[in-house]
Every structure is written in C-alpha cells, then in structure tokens.
C-alpha cells in the first residue's frame, strides 16, 4: 500500500505545468514556476548596440525588464503584424526578462516521463534552447530551457 502511494507521489512530483505560446506557428512551453506575468503590447525602449535578439527594455511596475525577441533568438523571420505580440515575463537569477511571442495559449500539465529528448536532426540554435519535446495529440510542444534561451 505504502509503496503504491510513494509511486503516486513520485508521479505527482514529475508533473509540471507549462505556459504554452506560439512563435511562427510552433508551440513552445515554459515551466509555470518561471513565469511572472503575461503582458499585452508594451512601450519598449530600444537599446542601441545591444545584441539583435534584445528588443529593448520595459517598465513593469517599477522594475526594468529586458525584452528578448524569441523570433530573432530562434533565427526566424520577423513578424509582419507585431501589434498582437504578447510578452511573457520570466524571472531568472533575480532579473526579469520578457520573451516576445506571437500568442499565448493555455497552461498544460505534462508529466516529466512523457518528455523526450530533442531529435538529433534539430537545428543547432533550437537544440541549444530546448530541454525536450512533448508529444501532444496532433502536435509537438517544444519545452524551452530558460537558462539557455537567456544566455545571449
């Protein structure tokens, strides 16, 4: 009995919640525990001389957030209609960052056991920033590694 309970607990532990978002029709996921906020269109201050992936910075309730363009980070073409862009704010090592995405979807609960390693033929840039792939019904969810996506 107790053994069965332990296994059940372990399974619960392995369940992770992910905020899903779309960039260029691909579905991505970020662990909920990293996400601080999701914002609509924001006024961004550009930062000249910074890396092209850095879109600028914005003010979130008195804190400065560095905005990272996920499209550029993934070497995708720029978005034509960026008014609908969403900003997913994540906290990393005490600093706030925001990822610019096309849209934000629902929160999914995924078991760690169901996550597979990224396939070997995946492009290097993409491989770098993913911890694994989850197979949903009908499409694949790319799990983002916060640490590597914010290492520019």
């Amino acid at each position: 009995m107790s053994e069965a309970l332990n296994i059940a607990l372990a399974l619960d532990d392995a369940d992770q919640m992910y905020v899903t978002m779309r960039v260029d029709s691909q579905l991505f996921g970020i662990p909920v525990k990293n996400v601080r906020d999701v914002l609509r269109q924001q006024k961004i201050t550009e930062i000249p001389l910074s890396s092209p992936e850095i879109a600028g910075s914005l003010n979130l309730r008195g804190r400065i957030v560095t905005v990272i363009n996920l499209r550029k980070r993934l070497h995708l073409a720029a978005c034509e209609n960026d008014e609908k862009n969403m900003f997913v704010v994540v906290e990393h090592k005490g600093e706030l960052f925001s990822l610019v995405v096309d849209s934000v979807g629902e929160v999914l609960t995924v078991s760690d056991f169901a996550i597979e390693k990224s396939p070997t033929n995946l492009n290097g840039k993409w491989k770098e920033i993913t911890t694994g792939i989850h197979k949903l019904d009908g499409e694949l969810l790319v799990i983002i590694d916060i640490n590597s996506v914010l290492t520019i």
Partner: protein, 911 residues
C-alpha cells in the same frame, strides 16, 4: 551566535577604534589626564565585559594592558612611545581575537602569555629601577610585607577601600629586595612574587574601576539627552531607502500627469504630497548619513605607524571631519583614501633631512579636508612634500607605451600628472612595503569612478600635491541630464557635465572638422567631439553636422574634457540608478538604466565609455598607417619585466606576464615539506624556489617573494630585493645550455644593464608535471597521433605549453605569429587536427589569423581555440565572430587540455 556576544562585538569594535586614536593623542599629550582616564575606562569596560561573557583570552590580554595603563594613570609610569606601542600591540591582539570571535562565534584556542608577560613585565619593570634605591633605604619594610602576603586573607582587609598605591609600592619594594638578594636571576623571582599576590591586585584595581565608573556617570549625565539612539540593522534602512526612492519616482510620475491635465482640484494636495515626500526622502537619507570622520578614524594610527616605519616626521591635519555622507559611499571610499594617504606619506613627503635641505620645516604635513560643493562632497588629500615628478612621469608613460613623446608635448602638466592613475604605473624608484608597486592608484581611480565620483590630481614639483575626490552625496539618487539622439532619449550623469553649448553654422561656436574628426573651439581650446548617434552605432555624415544646429554636452572624465553631440537637450531629472541586465554588461557606454517620471525606461550613459570610443577611433585609424610604420612599431614592441637581485652577479628579471603578486614573507613562516621550503599562503601551500645555490635564506626578518600563479596553483621565487618594473624589447642576446639548466633563458640588456632572464617555464615545470599526471590514461590514448598547431609569439608560453601538450600525447608544431601559421597551413604541406592560437601577436594577430583560416578552403573546418592572457566579454564575442570555437585563458592549463580534447571529439563527430 549568542545575541550578547554579537552586541559585545559591535560595541567593542567601536571602543577599540576610539582607543586607537586616544592612544595616539596621549602620546603627544602624555600629561592629559582626561585622555588617560578615557582610555583606562574603555579598556576596563572591555576587560569587564569579557570576564562577564566568559572570554578568558580576551580578558587576560585586556587585563594586562589595563595594568600598564593603570600604572600610567597613577603616574607610576610615563606614557613613553614604548609604552604606547606595547598597549597598541595589545589592542591589535584584541582586535584579532574579536575578528576570530565574530567569524567563529568562539574565542579559539591559543596562548597569549608571551604578550601578557611582556605587558606585565613592563608594568612592573618600568618601576623597579626607580624603587631599587628606595629599597636600600627602607630595608626593614620587607619583613612586614612577607607576613602580609603570607596571610592573604588579612591582606585585602588591610587595604579595604584604601588607595592601592601603597600596596603597589609595598609589593614593588618586596620585589626589589628580592632582586637585590639574587642579582644574577633577577627577573624570574620578580615575576613569581608579583604573580603570587595577584588576587589582591585585582581586587584593588576593581576599587579603582569603581571610582572611575562613578566619574564616568557624572560626565555622561550632562549629555544624556543627546545620546538617545537605537540600533537599527542596515537592511531595514536599505529597504526603507529603496521604497522612498520608488515613492519619489511615483510622485514625479504623478506630477507629470497632473501638469498635463491642468486639474486645479489636485494641485494643492499634490503639492502637499510632493513636499512630504521630499522631507521623507531627506529624513531617510539622514539616517544613512555618517560623518566622514568615521572613515578617517584610523588615520592617526596609520600615520603614526608610517612615520615610524619610514623614518619621517608626519603631522596629520583633518578638517571637516563632521561632513556627512552616505554610509555606503563611506565604505567604498575608505580603502581608496587609505591608499592615497599612504602614498602621500611614502612618495610625497621627504625625509626630515631632505626637507631641511629644501628649506621646509622638518615635519611634513598631510591634510585631509572634506566639504560640500554643489550637491557633491569634495575630499582633499594635500601634502607639502615633493610633488609629482613630471619629467619622471613622462619618461614612464613613454616606457609603458601609454603615450608618445609627441603627444606628451601637447599635454599640460596637469594632464601628464594624471598618468599616475594608469594601471601598473609607479614612479617610485624603490619598491617599499608601503607602496610603489604600481598597483593601487588605478584601483583607487576605478573604485571612485564606480560610485560616480571623479578624481583630480594637482601637483607642483617641490611644493607638494593635492588629490581632490569628488563624490555624489548618495548613491541611491543621482541627477541626470536627459538628451535625445537619433530619436532615442538618453541620460547623462550630471556629475560629468560641465556645460551645454549650442553650435550653429553662423554663431561663433561652430563645428569644424579635421580629417573627419569633429572639434569645436571652446574658449580658445579645441574640444574633441563624440557624435552620440555614431556612438550608438548609427551612420552619420559629418559634413551634414557642420551645417546643422546641434547641442554639445561638454563632459569631463578625470581631466579629459570632450563634447557629446546630441540632437536635443531636455531638463535634468533625479533618478534611481538600476544596474543593466547581465547580458548587456559588455556594452561599455551604459552605466545603468532607470525609469523616468513618465514611466518609460531610459539608458544612463557612461561618459567614460563614450570617451573611450573616441580615443579608440584614434587607435584604429593608426592601424591603417603604412606597412613601413607598422613594422617600426612592431620592432618597438615592449615587454614588461620585473627586475630584482638574486644571489651574486647580474640583476635578474622575469617577464611580468605571469607574475601574480609580490609578497614579503616572514622567514619564521617558512616550513620544510618534502625537503623543499614551503610557506602557507592564502589557505594553501606555496612552494618556494631559490634558484641560486649561493643564496642563503636569512635567519630572521622577511624576504621578498615573487609569486607566480598558474591555474590556481602558486609558486614563489625568493629574491634578495625587488628593483623595479621596466619595459624593454624582448631580445635575448646571450644564452647557453648551462644557463638553461639553471633556470635561466639567457641574458639581455634592460635599461642598459646586462640582466639574466629567468625561465618561468623551468620554474613551473613541476606544476606542469602535476597537470600531466592528473590527466587520466584514457585521455592520453585519445590524444595519440593528434596534431596541434600552436601559434604563440611569446617564447615563455611556447616553452610552457609545448611540453604540457606533448606530455599528454599530442604532436605539437609551433608558429610564432598568425602569418607564419597561415602560410604553413595554406601551403597544404601539413594538416592539423586542431589549432591553438594566441590573440595578441605581431604581423598577424589571432583574430586576423582565424578570419583568414575560416575563409580558406583548406582549413575552414579545423577547430581553433583562442589562448589568451586576458579574457573579457569583448574578446570572447570577437573571437566567436571570427569563427573561433573556444577561448581559454593562459593560466588555465587544465581548461586548455579539456577544450582541446572536447573540440577534437566534436570535430570528429561533425565530420
């Protein structure tokens, strides 16, 4: 840790700081009973508290030192320098013990009887010589005393409530008598006798203490009202400050909205809010303010010690010690100030003889003053010494490659003097334990700049020098000027801004160009201009600017004035500086960012970084010069050497590249392990090498040691005396096999003298062997038959790296520069599995080499690892950009081996 102990540590640290100064004061006014009473009281409190908390070691030391002070107070001993030195020594011991206590929560084991013995001996011995005469006269007293001491119980009753001098005198007479009886072993009996009646002595001193305490009460009663204070932890204040800062920002935001709305109803309450916020801000700021005297408090002691060490007579004057500034700033400037005061004493002031010869008073003066000036605090360190030797600075600047003779000609003396703040710059002819090692002033400068301060040096040869430090009142809130360039709003710290100038083609201030470099004439001086939009990376046509109306923000960094050309200038704003994100730290033109009143984010510019961009332009344009002049520059490529004497014969030198530190090591601390001398060094063991068989370690005192660091390991070279840091072209004239076996590369001329060059590779060979041994055998087989091309211009590093790589099994070929290496690769005669290259090399540097390799079809797939002395973000980015695979620093040999192994494997995979 026990709360009581924590409280005790804070309190005692404060008392000790006061004691230091009081003692130094006492030394100059030995008759002042007020000072003496104060000192005695503090020491007594320390002793009492220690006893209460059960800290026996501290108590004993404090007690012994109190004994000496007690005698001085009772006029039985004079406050001679010797006495003060001894008491100061005991203070240092107490400080050490307190430090240990605060770090570990307990006192720690140890024996201080040597020090207490000396203190006690001094307390007693100082008297004996005087009493000896009396003892002969009153030869009948001792018998009486013997009886008293034997019946110990009665003894205390004899003196109950009485003054102790009588008892002391009696005891001393007894001691003297004993000494007279057995002259040959005089010292020991005395100690014994004094120790025997100790309980009573303590009892007597307790009585004294009571009296003192009563006096203490009286004196403090009067200023009781002023002492109403509580202790608040710094975190609480810091938090409060942060919140008030945010409140100020929110207020600004609100004001801006209301101003645009023109709502009359809101104006009055908002005014009120604004007023209260300002007051609150001021109030909170005040809690963080501390008088600058706190940072100066250790200087009297420092000056005293320095004047003894250096054999100079130094008088310290302090003005404006009550000037208050933010405690955070106080912490930051403490060390730089100490450094500058030391410098003034060591380099600035002359010896008494020199001063007299120059017609100055024998006693040199160092004056510290602090005052407010326009929202900033100015701290000045002035000495009336010899001043900065401009001729020598010029010479050094040329030697160190910081400037050319021609550029120095164009500079004012003041500008030249600023070179002393350059890294590794020392004009001291002799390196002393106090200063002169050429590391320091640059650190001082960076520290001051870090807190938004500026540093200014004024000096008159023969008259003295003055360093003025200008720092903001507080770190938290700074005033900035908002400007616009290329549609981008930016903030410039007000502290750097001198003035604003509007330039128009028709007005008398207009922009002129010299070979595309922009300047304006400002009050008959040419001011170089940085175009902000260009600094920000946007294209800009200089011709257009000349015909436009633009604004120029005249900035000063150190003593360098320049203008920043912007499109618009708005007003100034008070802002809270927030650090930029780590991923943007490599951009040098920003010092931070902040949120403005309207809620938008704005970047704060670092005038320092901008100044560097315009001087960089200079450097790059120089690189485009003709090949002939480049060749000439290469010939002059200078290498820094540290010269020293070792054993007999010619002076020796080592290249500065690998020297990590210079240390003085006490011979007593040298131990022998595995037949070789070692010394405990920063929590590790450091092997000491002497190199010369004729060199004999002195039996006592200290020796100079040059510390070489390599991959977290250190090795020390013991030398007789360190002479200087010199720049010389690396050109070995004579070398023999014999020399090489003895650890020398050969001999060359440095500053006109034949100098033997020490082979660092030889010194470090032990360490290299260890590294190789640490590589596992599988790694070794992996490495078999792999070929490496090592491109490295420095002979030392070639000597060091080749054996290490070949010991692991790689086949290493070397090239001396990028060109040689590329020709070798391009000829197609040889193929290599991996290339390791230095970045800074003559003819063709590492970046150019890598770029060439990546363009060539023959070598574009071979992994390239950059192997560099200094690794910065910029270097890493640059090396990545030119297609290098990895960057390793030269002192990380394991890192190099790992990286080579890693890239060999991943290269194989990708093929």
């Amino acid at each position: 840790m026990d709360d009581l102990i924590v409280e005790f540590i804070t309190e005692t640290s404060e008392s000790l700081a006061t004691l230091d100064n009081e003692l130094v004061k006492l030394e100059s006014n030995p008759q002042d009973e007020g000072i003496l009473g104060n000192i005695f009281r503090i020491m007594h409190t320390v002793k009492g508290t220690c006893g209460f908390l059960g800290l026996p070691r501290l108590e004993k030391v404090a007690h012994a030192s109190e004994n000496v002070l007690g005698k001085i107070r009772d006029k039985k001993l004079d406050a001679t320098p010797a006495a003060i030195t001894l008491v100061l020594e005991s203070l240092d011991k107490i400080k050490d013990l307190i430090d240990y206590l605060s770090a570990n929560g307990e006192e720690g084991a140890g024996d201080d009887s040597e020090l207490t013995g000396r203190l006690n001996y001094f307390a007693d011995n100082g008297k004996i010589q005087e009493v000896e005469l009396k003892a002969v006269v009153n030869s009948d007293v001792p018998q009486e005393l013997h009886d008293i001491v034997e019946s110990n119980d009665d003894f205390s009753s004899h003196f109950k409530g009485d003054d102790d001098p009588f008892m002391m005198e009696a005891l001393e007479r007894l001691a003297a008598e004993e000494a007279a009886k057995n002259p040959p072993v005089a010292v020991e009996p005395i100690v014994e006798i004094i120790v025997a009646p100790k309980p009573t002595v303590v009892a007597a001193s307790a009585v004294v203490a009571k009296v003192v305490k009563a006096e203490d009460k009286k004196s403090t009663d009067s200023d009781n009202g002023a002492n109403q204070s509580i202790r608040v932890s710094i975190d609480v204040l810091e938090n409060l400050m942060q919140m008030v800062s945010e409140l100020v920002l929110t207020r600004n935001q609100l004001m801006q909205i209301v101003r645009s709305k023109d709502d009359k109803e809101l104006v009055a309450p908002l005014q009120q809010l604004s007023h209260i916020t300002s007051e609150l801000q001021e109030g909170v700021m005040k809690t963080r303010m501390q008088p600058i005297g706190n940072a100066w408090s250790k200087f009297p002691r420092l000056i005293r010690d320095l004047s003894l060490d250096l054999g100079k007579k130094i008088d310290l004057k302090m003005n404006g010690a009550e000037t208050e500034l933010d405690r955070q700033l106080l912490e930051v400037i403490k060390d730089p100030l100490t450094h500058m005061v030391r410098n003034s004493c060591d380099h600035g002031l002359e010896t008494p003889a020199e001063r007299l010869a120059a017609g100055k008073p024998e006693v040199g003066t160092v004056t510290l003053s602090a005052y407010h000036e326009g929202g900033h605090i100015i701290v000045e360190i002035v000495d009336d010494g010899r001043g900065v030797n401009i001729a020598r600075v010029k010479q050094k600047a040329i030697e160190n490659g910081l400037a050319t003779e021609a550029s120095l000609e164009a500079m004012s003396e003041k500008q030249i003097a600023q070179f002393v703040f350059a890294a590794g710059f020392s004009t001291a002819e002799k390196v002393t334990s106090v200063s002169g090692r050429g590391v320091g002033m640059d650190v001082v400068k960076t520290n001051i700049q870090k807190i938004g301060g500026t540093l200014d040096l004024d000096s008159t040869w023969g008259k003295g020098s003055k360093v003025a430090v200008k720092i903001p009142l507080t770190l938290a809130i700074v005033s900035v000027l908002i400007v616009e360039s290329h549609g981008q709003k930016l903030a410039i710290p007000q502290i750097n801004v001198l003035e604003l100038v509007r330039a128009e083609p028709k007005s008398n201030v207009k922009i002129e160009t010299i070979n595309n470099a922009l300047v304006i004439r400002l009050r008959d001086k040419l001011l170089p201009l940085a175009v902000m939009s260009e600094v920000l990376g946007f294209d800009c046509n200089h011709k257009d600017l000349v015909d436009k109306e633009v604004y120029i923000v005249v900035c000063r960094v150190g003593s360098y004035d320049f203008g920043i050309l912007v499109d618009k200038v708005f007003d100034t704003e008070e802002i809270v500086v927030k650090p930029v994100s780590d991923i943007m730290k490599s951009i040098t033109i920003y010092s931070g960012n902040t949120i403005l009143g309207d809620g938008s984010v704005i970047m704060i510019l670092d005038p320092n970084g901008i100044a560097r961009t315009i001087t960089n332009v200079d450097v790059s344009s120089r690189a485009e010069d003709s090949v002939a002049s480049r060749a000439a520059v290469e010939e002059e490529k200078m290498v820094g050497f540290l010269s020293f004497t070792l054993g007999k014969g010619a002076p020796k030198a080592v290249p500065l590249e690998l020297v990590s530190r210079l240390e003085e090591i006490n011979v007593k601390d040298i131990e022998v392990a595995g037949n070789k001398p070692v010394v405990q060094y920063r929590g590790d063991l450091m092997r000491l090498i002497t190199l010369d068989d004729e060199f004999t370690m002195p039996n006592s005192g200290t020796v100079d040691v040059i510390v070489f660091g390599y991959d977290k390991k250190v090795i020390g070279l013991v030398v007789n005396e360190i002479i200087d840091i010199v720049q010389a072209p690396f050109d070995i004239k004579v070398s023999s096999r014999e020399a090489k076996q003895h650890g020398y590369l050969g001999s060359m001329l440095i500053s006109g003298k034949t100098t033997d060059i020490v082979d660092i590779g030889y010194l470090l060979s032990d360490l290299v062997e260890e590294a190789v041994a640490s590589m596992n055998s599988s790694g070794k087989s992996e490495a078999e038959n792999k070929t490496i091309l090592l491109v490295e211009d420095s002979l030392f590093f070639r000597n060091l790296t080749v054996p290490m790589l070949s010991a692991v099994g790689y086949k290493v070929t070397t090239a001396e520069d990028g060109k040689q290496a590329f020709d070798l690769l391009d000829s197609g005669n040889k193929k290599f599995d991996i290339i390791v290259t230095d970045l800074e090399m003559p003819v063709m540097d590492g970046f150019e080499f890598a770029t060439a390799c990546r363009k060539s079809t023959k070598v574009n797939g071979t992994p390239i690892i950059a192997y560099t002395a200094s690794l910065s973000e910029e270097v890493m980015q640059h090396s990545k950009d030119v297609g290098m695979n990895d960057c390793v620093t030269k002192n990380d040999r394991i890192g190099l081996l790992d990286s080579v192994a890693h890239w060999l494997v991943s290269h194989k995979e990708s093929v």
